[in-house]
Amino acid sequence: MSNEITIKNVNMVYGEGGGHRELRNPARGTVALKDVNLDIKKGEFISLLGPSGCGKTTLLRIIANLQNQTSGNVEVAGGTPEQARKSRKYGIVFQSPVLQDWRTIRQNVELPLEISHYPKSKRHELSEAMLRLVGLEKFKDVYPNELSGGMQQRVGIARALIMQPEILLMDEPFSALDEFTRDKLQEDLLNIWSRSLCTVVFVTHNIAESVYLSDRVCVMSPRPGRLSAVIDIDLPRPRKLAMRDTVEFVEYVSKVRNSFEGI
């Protein structure tokens, strides 16, 4: 299979001579990423796993063209990240849902369609299909403040998927949720992904989460932020929550845990 994202010798230094002017990062003058090399295949589910300060979010932001690397090269879908962003190949889900209070759920989900001037007559059809997919069709006319955190995050996922992006970027999307809601959303995410076949880059600091979801887990370590191991997860799909109690799963978790360096 062809590569969707190719990352070559990427370095990111905050502070002198490097870093994006707009980036508000207190850790100035530090090496956030050092010599990162990674190929991500088309349709692959990949996790960037690591403790805070290991540069996983920075790497995601570089792929998303939300900031530029100090040196090195990133190729997305045969072009630069900027080209990919401009041709609207990304769907992004953040840690907080980032919904607009003044829009109903349906209007929130339709926001990307509005921005890309998608024909008005077809918007409702698409947004309703998306809301069905995340199980929120009954709530389409309520405002975000009336929903729970887990439901809000589902809206964020529906919004990210509505443009049928080639690449879904997720930055710790479930870390603010309680464990029950998180389990449910993880299972739903796998279902949705198996139908859409987009490439997923999933940032997390939860080991079990990364093993459960991913085809490959990229273990990152801090000071300087670097890729310390890439572990293939050869568990069968579709994966069910009960799989987490199997010996195989637990072995993968401990293998991932043992691959961390210098924390």
Binding site: R61, L66, R88, T104, L111, I115, N145, E146
Partner: protein
């Protein structure tokens, strides 16, 4: 539980306030009555003021006192309204420009504070001397007083947009126009209303004060005439009460406009309250 609900209801609190203020007023009126020979000139009873409103006696130009006051109030309010609209609109536009360009912000924002520091009401005679027209002076001063609260609050609103929201719009590669109309401006609306609520009563006060500079029509003008004893002393008190009412009304108009525009918030608050009770 029910008693507690009544005690903390806003209607009950309003009634307590009205009763309290009225009794303080009446006590003071009684006090003045005992020490002055012509008390109604200085501090009449509330009842006397209400009687004067209903008084059918023609006092000038075929108008009863309350008709006269209302005619003048209209002139004042109209100018205050025009000044308010101009001030609010230009404040809002400047805030947008300051958000759009860091250079404009750097040039304009520190000096905006100056407008706030100049006692603009004190400048009224000079503005009047320059414009040579009392109506234009009212508009200018109401506008200037409206301008700063609206500009500063709207700018704060435009800057309150979260970095994640900006990233989201960037990832959809939204253009500048879309980012403003779909993100920055909607986010700043509650802040805009904070500014409008501060400046609406200010604009009216300014208009009344400018009136006092010259004869003619306007509440302030009538106010200075009645103070000089040109007409029934109750006219003075009618003006004071009406001005206060207009000030409160102007604030209420903003509150209602806000509720209409931000209906999603009202709805949410109602839901939340329902859960609490």
């Amino acid at each position: 539980m029910k008693l507690k609900k009544i005690l903390f209801s806003s209607t009950f609190i309003t009634i307590v306030w009205i009763v309290l203020l009225c009794s303080i007023w009446e006590l003071e009126a009684l006090h003045i009555e005992q020490i002055k020979r012509t008390p109604e000139k200085v501090f009449p009873h509330l009842m006397q003021i209400f009687e004067s409103i209903a008084d059918p006696k023609i006092i000038s130009n075929d108008q009863t006192s309350i008709e006269l006051v209302l005619t003048n109030a209209y002139a004042t309010l109209e100018r205050a309204g025009i000044g308010f609209l101009i001030g609010a609109l230009s404040g809002f536009i400047l805030a947008l420009l300051m958000k759009f360009s860091g250079i404009i912000e750097k040039i304009a924002f520190p000096y905006l504070m100056l407008i706030q520091m100049i006692p603009i009401l004190g400048m009224a005679p000079i503005v009047f001397a320059i414009t040579q027209d009392i109506g234009v002076s009212r508009i200018v001063i109401s506008g200037v007083l409206t301008f700063y609260p609206v500009a500063a609050n709207t700018l704060a609103g435009l800057k309150s947009v979260s970095a994640e929201n900006e990233n989201l719009f960037r990832s959809y590669s939204a253009n500048v126009f879309q980012t403003y109309t779909k993100l920055y401006i909607p986010t700043s609306i509650p802040f805009l209303f904070t500014g409008l609520k501060i400046s609406a009563p200010l604009a009216i006060t300014a208009s009344i004060l400018v009136d006092t500079l010259q004869g003619g029509v306007g509440l302030g003008c009538l106010l200075s005439q009645s103070l000089k004893g040109g007409m029934s002393p109750f006219v003075f008190w009618q003006i004071i009460f009406l001005s206060a009412a207009i000030g409160i009304l102007s604030l209420q108009v903003m509150v209602i406009a806000e509720k209409i525009i931000m209906s999603h918030k009202v709805r949410w608050n109602r839901e939340k309250n329902k859960n609490l009770i």
